[in-house]
Each structure stands twice: as C-alpha cells, then as structure tokens.
C-alpha cells in the first residue's frame, strides 16, 4: 500500500482542506506525522461540515432543554414526547453543495441522508418537508436546477415510501450560484424505544450493514466545506448516488433488527462515511473501536483504505450488536437481502484502530477525531448594513392600482402556488396526512391515538440580511405560528443554518446574530432546539447567499378532529385580524417584486405578543371556533386574504371576501407591509360571541375586518373601495405564477 500512497506533507494537507495550524495540531495530538490514511480521517472529520469549527461557540447559546424533550442535539436527530407513549424524532439538514453540482442526485441523496438520520433512531419516517431556494426563476439555469432538485426529491421520497407533506420554495438572485436544498424528516417511535449512536460494551461486534461501498462521494464533507468557483461542476464525482429501494430495505431491516433487542447502537454512514461512524460512536461512549477494512462489502475493486474510510456511498449503517447475537442480526438483514458483515469490535479505547488485510493503517485517539478544532473568529456587522437599513420604502411612489398590485404579488414566484412541485411528491402514503401541502402547516394523525402533529418550515433570507437577529427570531416565530394556525402546540425546533464563508467577519456576524435571534424566540415560545445543521461556504466566486436560517417546527394537537386550514370555507363567515398593527415594507415581497429592492427596516417584534397571539389562535382552533386560520407573511395582509380566498380550490371553490382596513400611514404599507404576530381567521356568524369572549381572555389586539363570500376580493379603506378584483383572476395569477417559469 505504502508504495502507492502520496507522501504526507503540509501541501497535501492543505489540498485536503486543512490549515497549517490544524496540520500542526494533528502532529501534536499524535506525537508524530500522520499516515496518508490518518490524514484523510482528520481532513474529513475536521471539515467544517463535520466539526462545526466556526459555529460551535455560537450554537451553545441555543436553548436545548424542555420537560418534553427526549433527545437534544448531539445525536442523529432530536426527539420530543407527544404523549400517549409516542415520540416524534425530527431533524433538518442541508444538501446545498451537491445539489448545485448535480441537482437530481444531490437532492435525492439529501432526502436519503435525512431519512436515515431518523430511522437510525428507531423511528419510522412519516413525513418529509423541503425548503428550497433558487436564483432568478426566469433564468434557464434556474429552471434546470428546480427541475432536477424537485424530481430528485420526488424520485427518492416516492420510491422509499415516505410522504412529502410540506416545505417552501423561494427565489432571489443571491441563490443563483448556490441553491439551497434543506430537507426535514419527521419520524414516529415509541418514546421508550429510541436508539442512539453509541458504541458501548467492550467486545461487542461492529457490523457494517446495507449497501456496498464504492468510490462515490469521497471527500463530500470536505467539498461541502469550501466555496465554489467556476469549476464547480468538475466536482461532480464527489456527489453520491442514491438508491431509494435499498434505503427502503435498510429501513425495514433496521427496524426489525432493533425489535430483536440485539442492537446496542447504530449510526448512519452519512458525511465522511465509515470514518465518521467509527470515531463518533466510540467517542460518545468513551470506548474505542478496531475495524478490518478488507471485510467491508465493496462494489469496486482495489479500493484503498483511504477510499474505504471516506467513501460516502449511500444507504449504509454502522451497527453495534450485542455479543453472541450475531446470527439473529444476520438473519434479519438476509431476509431483506442486505449485507450485514462483522468488521470489528468495540474496544476499551481510547483509539480507533483501522487495519487493512491485517496491516494497521490508522491508529488515532477517537476524541482527537471527533473533537475537532473550535474557532472563535472575529465577527463584525457589514459596512453596507446601516445604509441599507436607512432606506425608507415610503420614499417610493404609491402604486396607481392596488388591485393590479395584489394580482402581481400573487403571481410572484415566491408567493405563487407550488402545486407544480408538490404534485410530483407522494403526499399521502401511510394514510396519515390530514392536511396536505398548500396550507400553513401539514397535519398528520397518529394512528391508534386521538392525536395529530402539525409541521412547518420557514425562513426568509431578505429579513435576515437586513436584521439577522430579528430575522432569525422571525424564522422561529413564523414556523411556530404556522403550526399554531393549524391548531398545534409547538414542541421543538430544528434549524438549518445556511450562510456564506464564516472566514469573513460580516458573514460570521450574520450567523452569530441569527443564532441569538433564534435563541431568544425559542425561549419566549418555550420550544427547545432539538438539533440541526450548519451549512457555511454557500458562495460562488465571492458572492454569498442571503443569510438563510430555516426553522422546522413540530407541534402536537391533542384532538386530531380540531384542526384548521388556511382557506375560507363558505360564504358569510366573519373575518378577524389578530395581532398588532405594526408592519413595514422593509425587506418585503412588495418592495422586491415592484421595486427590485431589499432594504429598509423590519417591523418590530414583540416576542411576548407573538406567544400570546399563537396561544389565542390555538385556543380558538381547539375550541372549534374558527373555520380558517392563516398567518400574514410575505405580501402582508392583502396577500394573506387572497391566499385564504383561492388556496382551497383543490377541494372546493374559491371564496371571495369584503374587508375594511384602517388606512394607516400609507395604503401600500397597510396592505402589503409585513409584520410578525398577525393572523387572519374566519368564524361562523353563529359562533361570533363565543369567539369574542375567547379573544377577550387572550389579551391580544384584534378586530373584525370583514366577511367571506362572493366572487370578488374587495378591500375598503377610509370609506373608499381600494381593491376590487375577481377571485378568478387572483386564482389564475397565483396558479400560474411559478408554474409558467417551469414550462
């Protein structure tokens, strides 16, 4: 082997993404020069993707405790107790870099990776949500990326058999060189049957299970820890190739193996593959591990130890079994026609010893690998921020025609219907989906109980770039508000932090501020962060993406029969607006769509008010008092009303409305300004008094603003009709706004 391996030098280490300082640190930890294979181990495990080098100091600020929390950050996924003995396991992860290089396989394996994170905990995946960000939708390159990503998600999720129930798609030019593919998966497990990625019990066998290892994805983690240049597509071989059928076999086999009681610990071979599992599992348990690489099932010949350790071939797990029960485990995997090969043993530690054909090729303390460097790098607000915030949107002219402006906003690709995407996803397999994609949150029942869960993902890069702290808080608030609008009590947050290069002080500042904002919102809403993922280096040729934290929230409904959707159901229902009046055109969809600007200040956020509004909405939904509930987000109050009018057309007819608004400072701000803690609800006239009584108890500002019905959307202000548009016209704009770019 040694004859064919490159000589280990500082230059080689740099080529693998390590710095001179990190290289010195490796030599200090080992007390010698690393071998080529050892250097490979360090380069992968000390990559930003695996080691969270730049982010760890900030991530510790997130609140990660709650009475109902069963598993916080540090495992493959987090878990919350939803009652009746059941737990929900969930996590969101990014697959941004691979999806730009090869959109179909990049997105597909993004789905595959997060599915494994969930079922490695012993949970059966019951829902997928995707938050996607792309560049200008009229650019042919964007169309190709959207097509590739959506069909990759569709291919993997559908074949595997887990419904895709929600998510969002938004567009901004800053994402054109770096699309975002963030996938969240939700799984269901008995609360006392959660498995963890631990290598306990000296002498316990270590099994390699699942797909065979090939040369795909080698150094994927390192690739995901660097920025792109014009040569990005030459990195295609670092993208993994997925096989959803094998993933399905692996799911069934793992759950069946876990049920035998012969599984001690299990971890998905995701980023940095075997290298990651063989070091992280013993590191968590204070043990060591010895493995023999020639036993690893391979689908290519002459693979080197380096390649075997760093391959990111998909659909594989490392499983620690209970001693003496090898045969039981082998039988389960044989039933599903999968390899289950003993490749080593848990040792007393503290080292990972790797052999190949009997020869030692690496001997490294597991904690040296698993505990990478941590940086506390300088961070400072960008010089341009103050000027950008100082812009006053009201210095721009008022639109001449408010009806036409509303129609234009409804056809903006970020707001328009995403049916083109979600009709390609199986949304119902498992027969749990009570609320399908297209409402604020998806709702899934928990069979055998009266309960259901509501799930939603959200994040708005425009808000974060203008005010990272408030923007971060808003991502949590909006995802939680969506869940509350469906009737769910938020139980936990998973966050996917997508940013540019942390080596630039202004990017690291955006990150730190966003984390602080998320932390503040989580404390105020009493929801812990259960885990997540940081994706840095989302920049191409020096152009960073909008800073984009995406939050996924899971909530519980005690009564699955008491839920709400966002669309108006019938004529004659009273419409109420709950929450404060404060809105702003700063960072709004209106300002971008009509004026091409991302500037100004965000509306104030009062977290206590946010908590009270969400609590009031939940109470109203749970009491069966509202016929629709919809939060006001992109496009403000006018767009929220229009969406409530037309988004129920999959199951019924569009329902118009007639509302009256206070004029405010200026009508465009009142109608299209965006502000937190605002929800539109509809109430049957017969339940009006009950609703009023409930709101009186809730101590929030609210008022009746109109009535549902008719075939037009009419808005009055100061005694004048300011918007009067046929709902058909709105529906057409909303249905075609995104799809027309994909045709």
């Amino acid at each position: 082997m040694a004859g064919t391996e490159p000589k280990v030098t500082l230059d080689l280490a740099r080529g693998l993404g390590l710095t001179a300082d990190e290289y010195d640190r490796i030599i200090a930890r080992l007390g010698r020069e690393p071998s080529y294979t050892e250097l490979g181990l360090f380069s992968a495990l000390w990559s930003e993707h695996c080691a969270y080098k730049h982010s760890r100091v900030f991530l510790s600020r997130l609140p990660t405790r709650a009475p109902h929390l069963l598993q916080g950050p540090g495992e493959n996924a987090g878990a919350v107790d939803i009652g009746d003995g059941w737990a929900i396991v969930f996590k969101m992860e990014s697959h941004n870099h691979p999806s730009f290089i090869e959109p179909f396989q990049g997105a597909a394996t993004g789905v595959g990776g997060i599915l494994r994170d969930i079922f490695t905990m012993g949970a059966r995946p019951i829902a997928i949500l995707d938050s996607l960000r792309f560049g200008d939708p009229s650019d042919p390159k964007t169309r190709q990326l959207v097509n590739g990503v959506v069909s990759g998600i569709s291919w993997y999720g559908n074949c595997f058999g887990c419904p895709t129930v929600g998510g969002e798609i938004a567009f901004a030019p800053e994402y054109s060189g770096n699309p975002l593919v963030n996938v969240m998966c939700v799984g269901l497990v008995r609360a006392d049957r959660i498995f963890r990625a631990r290598a306990e019990g000296v002498g316990n066998p270590v099994f390699y299970v699942g797909n065979k290892t090939g040369r795909d994805g080698i150094h994927g983690a390192t690739m995901a820890s660097a920025t792109f240049d014009d040569e990005a597509e030459a990195k295609r071989p670092t993208v993994q190739v997925g096989d959803p059928f094998t993933e399905k076999l692996l799911l069934e086999a793992c759950l069946e193996a876990m049920a035998t009681g012969a599984v001690v610990g299990i971890q998905d071979m995701g980023a940095a593959g075997l290298a990651c599992c063989t070091s992280e599992m013993p590191a968590r348990s204070g043990t060591g591990m010895e493995v023999e690489l020639s036993a690893v099932p391979q689908r290519e010949t002459e693979m080197t130890p380096y390649e075997l350790l760093l391959s990111e071939s998909q659909e594989r797990m490392l499983l620690v079994g209970a001693r003496g029960r090898d045969e039981e485990l082998r039988c389960v995997f044989a039933k599903w026609e999968l390899d289950a090969v003993k490749i080593g043993e848990v040792t007393a530690g503290p080292e990972l010893v790797v052999r190949h054909r009997g020869e030692p090729v690496a001997r490294v303390p597991v904690d040296a690998l698993a505990d990478g460097p941590r940086y506390d790098k300088p961070h400072a607000p960008p010089a341009w921020l103050a000027e950008r915030q100082a812009f006053d949107p009201l210095s721009l002219p008022e639109p001449a025609d408010y009806g036409a402006t509303l129609v234009r906003l409804m056809s903006a690709p970020t707001i328009a219907s995403k049916e083109w995407a979600y009709r390609q996803y199986d949304q119902q397999v498992g027969t749990n989906t009570l609320v399908l994609p297209g409402s604020d949150a998806a709702v899934l029942r928990i069979k055998g109980t009266r309960r259901a869960i509501a799930v939603s993902t959200d994040g708005n890069g425009r808000q974060v770039v203008l005010d990272p702290r408030r923007g971060g808080a808003l991502a949590v608030c909006e995802a939680a508000r969506n869940v509350s609008c469906a009737g769910g009590r938020p139980l936990g947050v998973t966050d996917c932090m997508n940013f540019g290069s942390p080596e630039r002080p202004e990017i690291l500042w955006q990150f730190a501020e966003a984390i602080d904002g998320i932390a503040e919102a989580c404390r105020a809403l009493e929801v812990p962060v259960v885990g997540g993922n940081v994706s840095f280096y989302n920049e191409t040729s020096g152009q960073a993406i909008l800073p984009t934290p995406i939050c996924g929230v899971v909530g519980v409904l005690e009564d699955a029969g008491r839920l709400a959707t966002q669309w108006f159901k019938a004529t004659g229902h009273r419409i109420a607006l709950l929450g404060p009046d404060a809105v702003s055109l700063g960072g709004s969809e209106y300002l971008w769509t009509l004026h091409g600007r991302v500037a100004g200040r965000l509306a104030p956020l009062d977290l206590e008010m946010e908590r009270r509004v969400q609590s009031a909405v939940r109470a109203a939904v749970q009491a069966g008092l509202v016929t629709a509930a919809h939060d006001c987000s992109e496009g403000g109050l006018a767009v929220a009303l229009a969406e409530s009018s037309v988004s129920g057309t999959r199951t019924g007819a569009a329902v118009g409305c007639d509302v009256t608004v206070e004029r405010g400072r200026r009508l465009d701000e009142t109608l299209f300004g965006e502000g937190p803690s605002r929800v539109v609800v509809s109430v049957e006239a017969a339940r009006q008094r009950e609703f009023e009584a409930l709101m009186a108890e809730s101590a929030i500002p609210w008022r009746w603003i109109g009535t549902t019905g008719g075939e037009r959307l009419t808005v009055r202000a100061a005694g004048r009709v300011v918007v009067d548009v046929a709902v058909d016209r709105i529906e057409h704009a909303w249905r075609s706004g995104f799809e027309r770019h994909m045709a």
């Binding site: 069909s151 569709s154 291919w155 559908n158 074949c159 595997f160 058999g161 096989d243 959803p244 059928f245 094998t246 399905k248 076999l249 069934e252 599903w336 026609e337 979600y422 009709r423 390609q424 996803y425 199986d426 949304q427 119902q428 397999v429 498992g430 027969t431 989906t433 009570l434 029942r445 069979k447 699955a560 029969g561 999959r650 199951t651």
Partner: protein, 237 residues
Amino acid sequence: MRFGVVVFPGTWSDCDFHYVISEVIRQPVKYVWHRDRNLSDLDCVILPGGFSYGDYLRAGAVAGKSPVVEALLEFVANGGYVLGSCNGFQILCEAGLLPGVLMRNECLQYRCQSTNLLVENVETPFTRGLRAGQVLTMPISHGEGKYYADPPTLAALKARHGIVFRYATADGQVVKAANPNGSVENIAGVVNETGTVLGLMPHPERAAETAMGGTDGLLLLQSLLGTLVEDGTFLKR
C-alpha cells in the same frame, strides 16, 4: 372473508390496506411475503402500491415473475379474487393476469393528485354496489400509470366490458383534461374475463375514511364483501 396483503420488499401501501381492512371494514387480514406460495386460506389477495423490487426496470416487470405471483396464477384459476392497485395493477399486467401495460406518464413526471373515476362496469364483484355512470373520487400516486393496449386488445377489452373505470371530470365527462397520465381512452382500471381480478392505478385505501378526505374507495371493498356473502363463500368460513 380472509384478505391477504402481498408485501414485496419495496411495497409501501401494504400497511395502509391492512389498516383499512382490519380497522375500517373489520375483516380478517394478514400479510403475504413475496416469497410465499401458499394462498390457500385466502378469499381475496391485495397487491398494493409501491416499488416491488425497486422497479428500476419497467414497473412490476420483475415482480410479475415472483414466487407469490406464480402462486397467484393458480389462485385466480381456482376462482380467488385479486385487487391490484397502483404497483399492483402494473404487476397484474406484467404477469399476464390483465391485458395491456402501464407506461411512463405522458407528462414524464410523477403525479400525486385527486382524480375522478367514471364507473363503467357494475357487473364485477368489486363494483356491484355501484351505479353505472357514478363518479368516484380517489387519489393517484404514480410515475408509470399510462395505460396502453394495442387496438385488437383494446377492442376485445371493450367488447367484454373489461373497462371498469375511466378518468373523468367531477360530473363524469371523459375528456383529455381529466386524464392525469395519458392513458389510452382515459382508462384507469380494468377487470379480467371472469371478473375476479381488478387492477386500477388509483388508491382505494387512501379514500376509505372521512378524515382522509373521502370514502369512495371503501365502496370497492364493500361490494366485494357483498359478493361473497351472496355466493356463500363468506358463510363457509
């Protein structure tokens, strides 16, 4: 009435069918592994949706030659009832138990959406509780659901009233706009000559509870129960 739900390694509607049969229509039901050949204790075999053996080749092509499907040929010859939905329909065509073939959707994309089905044949054991011209609502979820049969096969199918369901509008118009996958003549489901084997692309098990948005799918299973009560099979159990 004893139901068997066939499980290939890549099947995913197995649990959903099992749930509807045991919890909604409350009949005895068991899973049948794809390597099993013994179907003797069953009245009706369900072939559910999914990706049987991965379907990287043509959907259902490999499953059509599987041990359980070989046993199914004998089961059908002995008068047993078979309901194949989605991947199950594809497998029945591949196995030669139903005429025609399911091809890639005309739009070249996967489609998951609600569809309306016009009921054309109410003389089958699965549809005898329905009215001719009735419109049922059931979702589809497939990438390869474009039904095709060559002209002689199609003519023979029509002559024996083998077409059971066609994609239609909510008021029963069989038009191109209501066809989600490009199936020839909007065909959504067909039955064999003896009427004992039904294949359809839509998912009846996803339309079997009000909470899931409708109960039209249940009508097929209820018709079948009625058939068995009447022909005495039910009472022999």
